[in-house]
Amino acid sequence: MRAALAGDEAAYRRLLEEIGRAVRAMARGAFSRMRVGDADIEDVVQETLLAIHLKRHTWDGGPKLAPWVNAIARHKIIDAMRRRGARRLEPIEDFEAALAAPEAQDPHLRSDIGRVMEKLAPRQRDIVTAISLDGQSIAATAARLSMSEVAVRVALHRALKSLAAAWRSATQ
C-alpha cells in the first residue's frame, strides 16, 4: 500500500488483487454462516475494492494494513447482507480465518455492477468501460475521445465516485 500511495501502479494492482481474494473469502464465510446465497459475493468484493480505493487516504500508514482493510470489508459485507434482507445479524468476527478463494466463474452470476454502471453519465461509462473491460491505457482513451489525459483521469475519478454513490443509493 505504501508503494501504491507513492504512485507504484503495478504494486497497487497486485495489492488490490490480493485484497480482492481476501475479501472474497471473508464474504463467502460470512454469507454461508448467515445462510445467504453467494450470488452477491462478486458485487461485495467489487464494492469493497472501490471503497478501499476511494478511501485509501483514511489508512493511517501504520505498520499494519489488515485491520483497516478488514474494517472496510466488514462494513461493506454487512451492508450487502442488509440489502439482501438478512435478518439474523450476528457479530462477524472470524472472517479472517477463511482461506483465500478463487473467483467464481459462473456466467449466470447476477451482477449489480452492470445496473450501477447504467447510472453513470455516458462519457463516464465509456471511460470506465474502456479502461476496465478493454484494458486501454489512459493515454489511448484520451486520444480516442480527443480529451487531454488529465481530463480523462478526472473523469475516471469522478466516475468511480459516482459508481460508489450509485451503489450506496441501491443499498438504502
Binding site: L5, L49, H53, L54, T58, W68, E103, S132, R153, H157
Partner: protein
C-alpha cells in the same frame, strides 16, 4: 465486469493526496472564523468584556465550551478512519460535564437559595437558545464537508460529535456577549442549545457521511 477489470480502472486512477487531519483542522478554523465574523458584525462582545474577563464565572464559560469542543473535534478526527477506536479519548467528553457540575455545586454553596431562580433563568436564555445553534451552522457545515473525505463506521455518531464540536465553538463566541455568567444559567441553557446542534449533526452525518 470482473474484479480484474475493476482493478484496471482503480490502478489507472491517480493518487489523491488527501490529508484528513489538515482538512478537518482547516474546516474547523474556517467555520469558526465565519461565525466569529458574523457575530462581530451583528452583535460583538458585551461592553464590559474586559472587566468580565477577570471574573471566574465568566471565564468558566469559555473553559467549559473549550472542554466540549476540543475532545469532540479530536474524536471526529479519529472516527473518520474505519478502523478507528475512540479509546480513552471518549472519556474526555465527561470533562465539560464534570467541570459544569463542580461549578454548579460551588454556585449553590455561594449563592443564597432565594437567588437561585433568578440566576437560573437569567435574561438571555432565548438569545442563548437561538444564537448558539445559529453560530454553529458555519462550523458544522464545514466539518461535515471535510469529513465526507473520511470513512466513518458510525456516520450518525460521528456527525453528532461534529455537532458537539461546532456547538462548543459557537458557545465560546456567544459567551463573550452573554451577560449571564452564573453556572446555574450555563447548566440550564447551554446544554439545551448544544443538544439542538448535536441532533442536527447526527442527522447530517446520517445523510452525508455514508460511504
Amino acid at each position: 465486469m470482473k474484479i480484474a477489470d475493476l482493478v484496471n480502472s482503480l490502478a489507472a486512477d491517480p493518487v489523491a493526496p488527501i490529508r484528513l487531519g489538515r482538512r478537518l483542522g482547516l474546516a474547523l478554523a474556517l467555520g469558526a472564523a465565519a461565525s466569529l465574523a458574523l457575530f462581530m458584525a451583528a452583535l460583538g462582545p458585551r461592553p464590559d468584556f474586559a472587566e468580565a474577563a477577570r471574573t471566574v464565572r465568566f471565564d468558566l464559560k469559555f473553559v467549559d465550551a473549550l472542554a466540549l469542543a476540543a475532545p469532540s473535534a479530536l474524536l471526529c478526527w479519529r472516527l473518520m478512519r474505519p478502523d478507528a477506536r475512540p479509546g480513552a479519548l471518549a472519556l474526555l467528553l465527561v470533562a465539560p460535564f464534570a467541570l459544569l457540575a463542580g461549578a454548579v455545586v460551588a454556585e449553590l454553596l455561594l449563592v443564597p437559595p432565594d437567588l437561585w431562580g433568578t440566576r437560573l433563568i437569567g435574561t438571555n436564555w432565548l438569545h442563548c437558545l437561538t444564537l448558539i445553534p445559529l453560530l454553529s451552522i458555519a462550523p458544522l457545515t464545514a466539518l461535515i464537508l471535510a469529513m465526507r473525505a473520511g470513512a466513518p463506521l458510525h456516520p450518525a455518531l460521528t456527525g453528532a460529535l461534529a455537532g458537539a464540536a461546532a456547538a462548543g465553538v459557537a458557545a465560546m463566541i456567544y459567551a463573550s456577549n452573554c451577560t449571564d455568567d452564573s453556572p446555574l444559567f450555563v447548566v440550564s441553557w447551554y446544554p439545551l442549545a448544544t443538544l439542538v446542534v448535536v441532533a442536527a449533526g447526527a442527522l447530517a452525518g446520517r445523510r452525508f457521511l455514508q460511504w
